[in-house]
Every structure is written in C-alpha cells, then in structure tokens.
Symmetry: none
Subunit: 416 residues, 2 copies
C-alpha cells in the first residue's frame, strides 16, 4: 500500500520554513505498514495543485495533503480540492459549532470568515480538528483517496493520530514493515561496509539495509517488508544477531527515536526520585526539556535560573568568596549552585550549569564555550568541565544534552 | 527561471530524518532569483530515480539533487546518474587526490571503495566537495541541467555556496525576487485579513501576499517578482508604508528573522530595564526565550521555575492561604508569584505564569489549557486569564508568546 505526501505552501519553496509535517506523517504511516512513495512540496497555486492531483490519481492508494487550509485569501487548497472533485460546498454544522466554541473559549467573536471554514465539499468525510478551525477532509477519486489537512503542525498531528491513522487501519489491509536500527560508533561508513560485506550480500531479498552516517557514528537500518509478521521478525532477529557477532565492538545501541528527556523521565518516575536545576548559561533550557514531557510534575520540582551573578549568591546561596576566588564560571561555583538548588527544591538529584555561551567574553574571564556542569545525587556531588565551542545556540544545546546524559548515567548507576 | 529540488533517500520517506537540505538550497536559489517550482523526495531506487529525471527533463531549467552519493551499496545515485546520461565513468585525478588527502589528514588509509568515489561520468562538470569525498556533478540533457550533490548537510552547503550558486549566477540570466516580511502580534490570521482586505485587493499583480500564522503571531510576506529591481523595491516600500498605516498597532517588526525575544531584548536594553520570570506551567520556556538572545545578561537577571506547588510558597513567597483559597491555578497566585520574583531578583519587570498545560487535570481543579499570566511593572501589577486549549506543547508555546507580547506592550507604554 502506497502513499504520496503533498505539502502546499510557498513559504516552503522559498526556504522560509522547513517542512517537518511530511516526516511526521511518513513515520506514522510507516508504523502501520503504509509505504510513503514520494513527498512533494508545491506552491499555493491552483493549477499546480490540480496538476499534481491529476498526476497522482490511480498511481498511489493515498495522497496526504497538508497546508493552505487557513481562512485567508492565499489559502486556496479547500477551493481547489472542491473543484478537483467537481463538488459543491455545504455548511457542516458540527464543524461550525466547534469553531464557534473554540473562539468563545478564547473570548473572541468568530467572524464570518472564521465560520465559513465550516463550508466543506459535500462528498467529503470530515476528519475533526480538535485543535483548530480547519477541518480535515477525506475524499476518493478513482482508486485514490485524497486527504487534506491543515499545515499547522499540532493541528495536523492531532488529526493524524486521532482520525487519520485509525481510519486507514480500519479501511485498508496492509503488509507489515519492521525496522531495526543499529547505532555504531567510531568507524566510517566505508570501513563498516567492508567489515559486513559478506553479511550484507547474504541478506534475504525482503530485508533492505541502509547506512545513515553522521559525524562520528553510523546508523545501520534494516527494513523488512512482507505479509508474515513472524517470519519478518525472526529473520531480522537472526540477522541482527549475526551482525552483532561481526561488529559488536562498535555497536552502542539499538534504539531509534527515544529522546533523552523521555528516558530520564521514565527512570525518575520508576524510582520515585525528584530533580531540580540551577541554570546559568543554559538559561532554563534544561528545565524546559524536563517539563516538555507529560507527567513531568511527578519528578521535576523546580529550577532557578540565576543569570545575573549576584542572584547566584542571594537566591542559590553560593558563597561570594567562592565567586571572587574562582570566578563565576568555575567548578566550585557549579558545585555550590547544585548543592543550593538541591536544598531549596528538596530534591534527590540536582543539575547546575555555569559557563560562557558567548558571543563575547565580557562576563568573567572564561573562554567562549567553557562550561561546568555539576550533578548532585542523593550520595555525592561531582562536576565536569567542557568546551562546546561556538556559536551560542550550540553551546546551550550541547550543555543541556550533556547534562541530561550525565544525569541518566548517574541514575542508572544508583540503581545497580 | 525554475528549479526542482530532488532529495534521494529512504530514511526521509520513512520519517527517520527530516529533509532540511531542500529548504537550504531553495533559500540560496531564491536569493539569486531562481524560483523553486517543486521539492520532491524519492527512494534509493533506480527506476524511481530515472522516472523522476525523465518527468522533469525539459520541464524546469535546473534539477538539483541531493543524497545517495556515499561509498556504500545503498548509494546508487551516481550509477543511476551515469546511466540516465548514457555515459561512462572515468577516474578524475583531482578528485582522487583530494580524497586521499582527506584521509591522510585523519590518519586513515583510504580503501579502494573510497578512491573509487573519484570515478565520475565522463561528461560531468565536477563541483569540488571541499568537505568530503563525494564530488558534485553538473550535467545537461535537453534543456535541463541536472546537478547531483551529496546529502550530508555541511558538504552540500559547501558545494552550494562555493560552486553551485556562483556557476548559476555566471551562466544564467535571472529576474529579481524581493521579499519583505512584516511580523504582527496578538491578532489572528482572519482578523488581520479583514483589516487589510482593501489593501490586499489593491496590490499590483507582481506582488504576492502570504499569511504565515504561528501561535500568537502572524507573519505577512510580500513577494515581488520582475525584471526591474527599482520598480519592485519602490512598490514594496509604498505598500509596506500603507500597510503600516492600517495595522501599525500590531506590527512588531519587519525583519524576516525578527522574533519577539529580539524585540523585547532591544527595548529593555535601550531603556536599561531588567526582567525576571516565575514560571509554573511554562517550565522555564520564557527564561529560555529571553536568554536565547545574545546580550541577554544586560536585562535578564533570573528566573524561578516553581513546578511543585510547595516551591511557590517556599521559594517565591506565595502565601499558603492564597493557594488554599483560590487554588494554585488562579489570578491571585500568579500575582503573588510575579511580586515574589520581582523582589527576589530585584528587577523592574517580572512575568509569572501558572496554568494547566495538560494532558490531565490532576493538579488543581482548573481546566486543561487555563493559564494566568501576571506582569509586574515598576508601577503596578496586572494579571490576565487565557484558555489556550490543547495539546500541552501548544499551551506552553502560546503562554510564553503571550507573556512576551504583554511585556512588549507594557514596556512601550511606559516609554510614552
């Protein structure tokens, strides 16, 4: 079963925004055995849209479209959609009620333009948008189902998860697709390829291998496609087993899209432990990562972002003498920040960061990119120094990621 | 002059990685007046690649391809490229010397597989890759030039900037494209559209308007295309001028990359005022926005993320009675949080947030999406209630954006 994903929007074609919707949809389709054949980004232009629809009809089973469903003049997808299906608009009362309710909640009066978003092609099956005003539409022409959804990512995601995927699962028979990703570290793509050449040549026809290199690491992705789930799983398992025998020395993991904040959150919840952060150079980034996870209130108690130097003393209780003696960007200050926040927030673990994220050296004498990360645990406290280079954004991101990584390692250690 | 950008790679079609290359290339092309007609992502499959090339030949002037040029078996772009042009491979000595030199630098010996990356179609004009081993290729068939580049982002970027763009500029005549982006805050897309309807209808045919909404803000993008740069610039200027007269009250900036955190940062710096935040439901997001700007230390002093209820009392000094009487998600608590942090951090302004970002109602009895934002100024304090709906991610984003907007308005008020 094949799908093509179409993104409509001039802002993508001039590079003003990056299309992340298609990847999200492709992943969701892949999980239920629908293969994405192509992704296409086209302009907000009627002829271009129609030509694209015509070229896709009867070529794939599903065409999933995002973008161009807003209420303004440049949003032409809905009208084009209606025209392509030679249909007429009728008012969908359920959608109009939903739109009005959304506006009332925000203390706004919906305009006629807003209400008219409930005008939908008469033959369309509506996919309710619980997070916005533009409804999704499901319509068939020839052998192909065309689905139109808004381009706003969280609205699209809501429709995909709550409406689209369940509907596809209900209405189509699909093959199984199984992926297994093997993360290797420390050897280049061509080196890895040489080591596993024989193994690769002996893979069964229904298993495909891909190399995904990035600085310092290569991910190997195995993809098996077929109708018998058991055979696919068994074959993947056997081949991963024989691969591990060959290059076990450079394999570091098998997980694909787990984020570190999810992993840390799960570990802390399981163990009933709590965490707090005292952040200087990261400016709240670590707190924000921790609280981006649903259920964070079970383990995250709070944070102090002590950006100005004197707030490290007055709020976190860092000693003025320590700052004068070692400077504000130092292991000693990081340590005292961690101890301070652990006490203030009454938590088991505490992370502290102090560093110079740049762009200039003005505050303190530390080099741009120098960062100290302290981690207080129920038993002890330690601190590490790093240099994360430039620019500012990268220093902040890498510090936050490294802090989470240190935390994860430490929690795991304290379990054993 | 039109281009289509083609990305080759199964990892994109299964949603494992997001294609950021196409956006980068589109932006670079747009700057020199080349219009991106479409972006297409296809699989590492010979027939699929050839079919795509055939469908694009003579339809656009340029086809820019990335991906599939690595040294391993799954990288088939180079062979397919050669076949499509009915060409044969010859060894390019300059490329081979460059590959060997790259390996020597890293203290590795290149394998034969690595050296064979210097085998290139005989008719290809080579675009040197100074950052990796896979060379770029420029070949013409019919009216269309096909350019193939590696998919590794920093290698692709190097070739685009150092080789591709200069070559296009040299070999083609191109029209002018001018963009102007106007950033507005606080009114929805449909509201803005209503206010500027007449203006929009009177835009000249060579100027296109696009609405780019995101939580709490709408970007208006004007695009002018034509051969006379002076006329385009003048018309854009005149239209922006008349637009400012219409909706000057909600315009916060004109720069494409202007963000509210930059605007607020500039205002605070100019006035020598300081800011702090006390965050509950936003979990540090506002602090993180404020500190994402270089030079934030001039105005941002610090923040307390009081996620657990008792930390609002112990750290921020919110009264236990207030929490019991009004609940933790209330105007009264938001107010006391703002007053508390303003005092602790000794700042002119202070923002406080408390709300329920979801996904469940467990903490307190407030509806999911209910948020109170308090703003303390040097003169007074006020608080506003909002309902930002769902999901969690949206509530956090909209709360942070709204808080910044309230802050900006208040600072501007205190100037006058």
């Amino acid at each position: 079963m094949k799908a093509t994903i179409v993104t409509i929007g001039d802002e993508i074609l001039i590079g003003q925004i990056v299309d992340t919707n298609s990847g999200y949809i492709a992943k969701a389709l892949d999980k239920i055995g629908v293969q994405t054949h192509e992704m296409i980004s086209i302009s907000d232009d009627k002829k271009h849209i129609i030509d694209t629809f015509v070229s896709l009809q009867d070529k794939v089973d599903l065409v999933i479209i995002t973008g161009g469903l807003g209420p303004t003049k440049d949003d032409i997808t809905k009208h084009t959609f209606c025209e392509y299906f030679e249909d007429v608009f009728i008012r969908n009362q359920q959608v109009e009620d939903h739109i009005v309710a959304l506006f009332v909640k925000l203390n706004f009066n919906p305009t006629q333009v807003n209400k008219d978003q409930a005008l939908l092609p008469s033959k369309a099956q509506v996919l309710m948008n619980n997070y916005g005003t533009a409804a999704g539409m499901w319509m068939q022409k020839g052998k192909t189902v065309f689905v139109s959804m808004p381009g706003v990512p969280y609205e699209m995601k809501g429709i995909v998860n709550e409406q689209l995927i369940p509907k596809i699962v209900k209405e189509y028979k699909r093959p199984y697709i199984i992926h297994k990703t093997i993360l290797t570290y420390g050897q280049g793509e061509s080196m890895v390829a040489e080591r596993i050449e024989d193994w690769e040549n002996n893979l069964p026809a229904f298993i495909k291998l891909a190399y995904l290199p990035s600085p310092g690491r290569v991910r190997l992705r195995l993809t098996a496609r077929g109708v018998n789930k058991e055979i696919l799983e068994k074959s993947i398992q056997q081949n991963v087993h024989s691969l591990t025998k060959l290059i076990g020395d450079i394999i570091v993991g098998f997980d694909e899209d787990e984020t570190i904040e999810l992993v840390v959150g799960r570990l802390l919840t399981q163990q009933g432990k709590t965490i707090s952060t005292a952040e200087s150079c990261t400016g709240g980034k670590i707190a924000q990562m921790l609280t981006s996870v649903s259920g964070a209130s079970h383990y995250f108690r709070g944070s102090v972002v002590s950006y100005a130097t004197d707030t490290k003393v007055t709020v976190l209780g860092v000693s003025q003498t320590t700052i004068e003696e070692y400077s504000v960007v130092s292991a000693e200050v990081a340590k005292e920040m961690a101890i301070g926040i652990q006490k203030i927030m009454k938590t088991d673990y505490a992370i502290a960061t102090t560093g110079n994220a740049g762009p200039s050296k003005e505050e303190g004498k530390s080099e741009i990119g120098t960062v100290f990360i302290a981690l207080a645990t129920p038993k002890n406290i330690f601190v590490e120094e790093f240099n994360f280079g430039q620019p500012r954004e990268k220093v902040i991101d890498r510090t936050a990621n490294k802090a989470m990584e240190l935390l994860q390692k430490e929690i795991l250690k304290n379990v054993q």
